[in-house]
């Protein structure tokens, strides 16, 4: 029991911490909500994983990548805003998932499965979470400049395609991992809430990233631990903890 809690905590910390750090970039590009529809798009993959008994993240990943490529191609073709396209396509993911997702096993796909995570999934969460953290950290200023003004970034020599690829790949990995932690319905909260809370109280860019990551980690620790104590699902508890932290920061800002 204790080793299971340890695995859940380690997975949760790495996923939530790197998701929250990435979230600061997504929030500044007004793209934080995009993680939600992508989480929904991951649901068919999560459903397949449940039916055939393999890792939910592993099942989710190709569907998230397909979703991102599909949205990217639609954006080029239609010139519609990205949030409109994600909102347009995400329902297809949910509908497809419910076609063959055994409804009595749907909980893991919808609210996450972190309480039952195994050693291989934990290693994957640590490796991929660290990879995303390092990639985001190394490209943070370039992507932030892109967010501020793409043409200025280009004239300053930023390789826009490369950094957009790093950025979108990081989102794909985090959403796929996030489906394991909080389920396909709540992945946006993993990136959006800690970043929004950090923005409320941060004065500098460094504070913004560090505080957001810390809020993500804190939410994972409190959510998973209270799940172990109460028996309630960990995913919603992680998100509720994050929401409470956000409300506290709102109160602090008002003071």
């Amino acid at each position: 029991m204790e080793s299971q809690l340890l695995l859940s905590l380690v997975s949760g910390i790495f996923i939530a911490g790197s998701a929250a750090y990435l979230g600061t970039l997504m929030l500044s590009r007004k793209m934080a909500v995009v993680a939600g529809p992508l989480g929904h798009l991951a649901l068919p993959g999560a459903a397949l994983a449940i039916v055939y008994g393999f890792s939910i993240s592993l099942g989710a990943f190709p569907f998230v990548v397909l979703g991102i490529v599909f949205i990217w191609l639609l954006e080029i073709r239609t010139k519609l805003p990205m949030e409109t396209l994600t909102a347009t396509v995400f329902a297809a993911g949910v509908a497809t998932a419910f076609l063959f997702l055994p409804i009595n096993e749907a909980e893991a796909a919808l609210v996450g499965n972190i309480s039952k995570v195994g050693i291989y999934e934990t290693v994957a969460a640590v490796v991929l979470g660290s990879a995303v953290f390092i990639a985001v950290n190394r490209s943070y200023k370039k992507i932030m400049l892109l967010n501020v003004h793409e043409d200025i970034a280009k004239t300053e020599g930023v390789n826009v395609r490369l950094y957009n690829l790093i950025y979108l790949s990081s989102i794909a990995i985090i959403v796929a991992l996030g489906v394991d932690l909080v389920g396909g319905l709540m992945t946006a909260a993993l990136v959006a809430i800690p970043a929004a809370a950090a923005r409320n109280i941060s004065k500098t860019l460094v504070q913004y990233g560090v505080v957001s990551g810390a809020f993500g980690v804190l939410s994972a620790i409190i959510g998973i631990t209270s799940s172990a104590i109460t028996g309630l699902p960990a995913g919603p508890l992680v998100i509720i903890t994050s929401g409470i932290i956000f409300l506290i920061t709102v109160a602090v800002v008002r003071v």
């Binding site: 500044s28 932030m144 501020v148 200025i152 004239t155 923005r199 004065k203 500098t204 460094v206 913004y208």
Partner: protein, 232 residues
């Protein structure tokens, strides 16, 4: 006579199957303050972005010296970054530049070192624009591309920015390509003007020599005149 820095031959830009610019030829001398003048929709910003390599184009662009480009785009104001916890120091950290270089350029644009810890999004319009000028200059460009750099500030603030840019242009021997539709700017600051119009009329040369009422009428499609008040 200054040495030629850039030669543009038969420049053609087509966006969404609509021809925006075609067969444009001009050159830019080193140390020139060239203003690209024209009404809205004449292709000024498209030309500037094409020269910067930001838009696909046909024709030739020959740089006689390797350009180190600085770019001040249209519409970037303090409001664009107000949502971000970004201090002026953070803003400078987004490009590879040493803090001592930043400290050298801040006084040049009339800002003290105390501004470094202020949030960039909460500077006044004029302060933000001056901070942007310092930001662009900090990487030591030899050519500045300015796209209506004063649209986000009031008239007095705009005049301050241009006076500042002219001062820096003279001291640093920069080449400046500036987009505007404001005739005052052309007469007050530019050594050369390239005019574009929606109707295909073009002109290039020294402002006081070529901007006759007939040419202005051709460019703006209306009776436009510029009056100077002598002895005031």
């Amino acid at each position: 006579m200054s040495e030629t820095l850039l030669e543009v031959k038969d420049l053609t830009v087509t966006l969404d199957n609509a021809p925006i610019l075609s067969g444009l030829n001009f050159s830019v001398g080193e140390g020139e303050f060239l203003t690209i003048l024209g009404p809205n929709g004449s292709g000024k910003t498209v030309l500037l972005k094409s020269l910067l390599g930001l838009l696909p184009h046909g024709g030739e662009m020959l740089w006689h010296k390797k350009p180190r480009v600085g770019y001040l785009p249209q519409g970037l104001s303090q409001m664009s970054v107000r949502d971000l916890p970004l201090t002026v120091k953070d803003f400078f950290s987004l490009k590879k530049v040493k803090e001592e270089d930043v400290m050298r350029y801040l006084p040049l644009v009339g800002l003290g070192s105390g501004v470094m810890n202020k949030k960039a999004g909460y500077l006044s319009g004029g302060e933000f624009q001056r901070m942007l000028v310092a930001w662009v200059l900090a990487s030591e460009p030899n050519i500045l591309f300015l796209d209506e750099p004063t649209t986000a500030v009031d008239i007095a603030g705009g005049e301050t920015i241009y006076s500042l840019l002219k001062d820096i242009w003279q001291k640093r021997k920069l080449t400046i390509l500036n987009v505007t539709h404001d005739l005052n700017i052309v007469y007050a600051h530019s050594t050369h003007v390239l005019c574009l119009s929606r109707f295909g009329h073009r002109c290039y040369g020294v402002p006081k020599e070529i901007l006759t009422p007939t040419v202005l009428n051709d460019i703006y499609g209306a009776d436009v005149r510029f009056y100077t008040h002598k002895g005031v």
